[in-house]
Symmetry: C2
Amino acid sequence: MSSVEAGAPGGGTARRELVVTFTREQIAAYAEASGDRNPIHLDDEAARAAGLPGVIAHGMLQMGLLARVAGDPARLRRLSCRFAEVVAPGDTVTFRGEETNGRVELTAVNQDGRAVITRGRAELAPSGLDGRS
Amino acid sequence: MSSVEAGAPGGGTARRELVVTFTREQIAAYAEASGDRNPIHLDDEAARAAGLPGVIAHGMLQMGLLARVAGDPARLRRLSCRFAEVVAPGDTVTFRGEETNGRVELTAVNQDGRAVITRGRAELAPSGLDGRS
């Protein structure tokens, strides 16, 4: 997992990037933590019976990683995205966020250049832990 | 954790409910699985230094639980919400989803009747694993 952050303090556009190669172990850990133990995430045979090539990552695991490039999680006030492609163990996904004045455009693209998440958007509170409403 | 599901097969409105009492252990497990180990989720002293009464749950942990009442995760195509209130260990949150024709309205309310998440919406694919776009 690697990450890059570049910003213009006090204004302008801040860019964040996170590159993640998904593993079975990470998907299994997320299944435990989230309580979503659907066998399509844990058991290749069950995944194939569901028409998949093998186990896939949880959409919400992808969205959780996407949220990390939105900015400071304590400032995160709104998040939305569309799940476009499945992500399997071994896939490498580049998550990118581009923030201007608290509005963030989010993308997630796999090693084949395909968008696994589309229409990713976030809103950040102005600062610290304020701004909940 | 308790859950209820009631639906009208073949049409109408399906309702799902999940009641979760958050624990430090669950929040710590989510920190590991997601890689978000911000001390405001793990260390009371650090949380207090940030102006909080103590550790709080990750917004994305709340959103992950919210996604579970949206419906079959394999059909989840779009998800959005707004984070309105912090959730701390010991808080009991009732997550509810009400689906009509693949459109889901989502709510999350704590033991004091306060909405911790607002503007929760999801879209589900018509069936199975199809419908990605």
